[in-house]
Amino acid sequence: MTSEQGAQDGLPLDDAWHRVSPASIIYFAVQFLGHIAKGGWQTMAPLAGALVAAGEKRWMVLAFGVPGLLLVIGIAGLLSYLHFRFRMNGGAFLIQKGVIQRKRLTLAYERIQNVVINEPIYFRPFGLVALGLESAGSSAEEVSLAGIPRRLAEDIRRVVLLERAKPGAAQPEAAASSDEAPTGPVVPILHQGIGELVRYGLSNNNVWVFAGLAAAALSQAEDQLGNIIDSGIGDQVTDMVGTGTAALVLFGFLSVAGLLLLLMLASIAGAIIAYYDYKLSHEGKRFLRSKGLFERSETSLPDSKIQSLLVDRPWPAILLNRSHLVFRQVGFQSTGQDAAAPSKKFIVPSVTDTKLRELVGLLTPELQAWDNIRLKAISRRFISRVLTYNIAMPATLAAIGTSIGLGPIGLVILLVPLLMSPFVYLRWRQYGYWSDGKHGVVRKGLVGHSLRLFAFHKVQTVTLHQSPGQRRHDLATLTIELAGNSITVPYMPLDEARAWHDEILKAVATDRRAWM
């Protein structure tokens, strides 16, 4: 990029180092606080120790300690702000930061994977944003420019993405369409209102995971419940509902229902806070997303970075006739050092079938058969194998063990395989696979299911496994490693597994598109 061009864009392309806005002191202070909290109890221990040791004079410690702590945080924010400088030239970002340990960071445009614009609530009055640059490497290399005007952030994003697309000319279409890209708002493909977010809150897995945990906790508490009732602590309960067993059961049922309702409300609230005013658009081979109630974030994700598409349909989502999508990206493990590092999960909540088709069409234009996908079932031997080896054998061993200890009652464990068999059957039924020779779709689940769509040319490694039993019946299990996640299809017919294996290797060898 020439400097005239840059000047035209209002970008700081000169040799001088630039500072972010003084308002970023708040950002740095918040980050510092985050680090203290993450640093854990070690950092808090002296304060707690002082509190305990102070005895009667505890209030003195609080009166001086809390303002002192606030002062330290404020000074840390100020120093971080004073030491943070950035400049852009030579196709790279240069950052100087660090108070005690000085750091210089260079991030070349072509290494930038995502550009994220966050608008924390405390920046809103100043019209400032935090610009996050995600690199393809580790999260330690990531750059966050907090406290720059929105206009500048948008210019930087445009220039970086344009520049990134240029050098190798690997994505000529992307560059071309970026040139034409209008600076004004793009019409979103998806604009999720509160109604959809409520649906997402109700039907995403989190609430049921919590409910499961709560149920486990409850069943543990059950043993103690009897004691509590006996010991008279439960008098209030019995006073309230009478002493009948039926009434107690009803009370228990109602409290579980109440808890579930509370969890659902919490999940809905969480969904609204995280995804408020969710807008998804597609422009120049990139998905753009903005979302958030308190902290608005704008993320862009180039199509080429998406490794697979996860279409998640837990059973409540099936009832509501929605799917939740996740664009899976390269999954480098986050080191968790930067509290402000944006999440790499690119979720599209509560999508109708029509929109799903549209999104799949955008992501994989050459895949024209989303509606024609007919999943093939895996071999029925999956059921007998799982029941025999994974359930019946351990259950028999356990039954022998417990019956030695407890007598015949221990044999009750032998009922486990019987109780489990419907679930194994459901598991088998949900497994399915389909391919058009260039893409694969694999479904798995139990009551609900999740579908994974991936392009063969993005695969990293393929492994074909065969157990002795599978060899006898010409079956195989195929494990496909994508960058960041792995997909397994158990008990495929051997010739199908080999065909996938061959097709994948062919796609990798012949498809010249970049996988990342």
Partner: protein, 184 residues
């Protein structure tokens, strides 16, 4: 199976990749691991067997109770049976392993009962490690580890290569990976 020699172009000139004509993994021609690998596994197993037997014998003689309970050959026979099985398993194990090289990908098979065939396209190789442990060095062997963007641990590990072969194979893979990157 071909010999373990990776020399010349014998292992490389595998021009089966022709557009439209899909080469199949069912027709791969595997190269055995170096015979030294089998010897190394056997030697290791033998060393462990001897060590355990010696320890058992010493313990037997030190313990006052054991003399009356059972004769020394009972535990030694048990150990022999166990280690004989391991020996037989190892014998088949190293024969079951093998790698195959094509123009664009590398394959490694392993497993006697539970068999697996891993395929790694060269373009996906992020980095390669040649590992030579002290025992491997004794037998002139090396282990090649290939890493992709797929996960943290090595995505393909080929043990029991002659040191020279390992270096050649590594250089070949890196060269192919690089050549492919230039194409893009």
């Amino acid at each position: 199976m071909t010999d373990t020699n990776l020399g010349a172009s014998a292992g490389y000139d595998n021009a089966r990749v022709a557009p439209g004509d899909l080469p199949t993994i069912a027709a791969l021609d595997f190269t055995d691991l170096a015979p030294g690998y089998g010897r190394m596994l056997m030697a290791l197993c033998g060393a462990v067997y001897v060590t355990v037997s010696v320890i058992v014998t010493i313990l037997y003689h030190l313990s006052d109770d054991a003399h009356g309970q059972f004769p020394l050959y009972a535990p030694l026979l048990g150990l022999f049976v166990i280690f004989a099985d391991v020996f037989v398993y190892l014998h088949f194990h190293h024969r079951a392993c093998g790698y195959a090289l094509r123009e664009r990908d590398l394959h490694y098979k392993h497993g006697v009962l539970w068999q697996a065939l891993v395929s790694l396209p060269f373009t996906r190789v992020q980095h390669v490690e040649v590992e030579r442990g002290p025992i491997e060095r004794l037998f002139g062997l090396a282990t090649l580890k290939f890493f992709t963007a797929g996960g943290g641990s090595a995505d393909m590990k080929i043990p029991g290569l002659l040191s020279a072969d390992a270096t050649k194979l590594r250089n070949f893979v890196l060269q192919q990976a690089g050549a492919d990157d230039d194409d893009v």
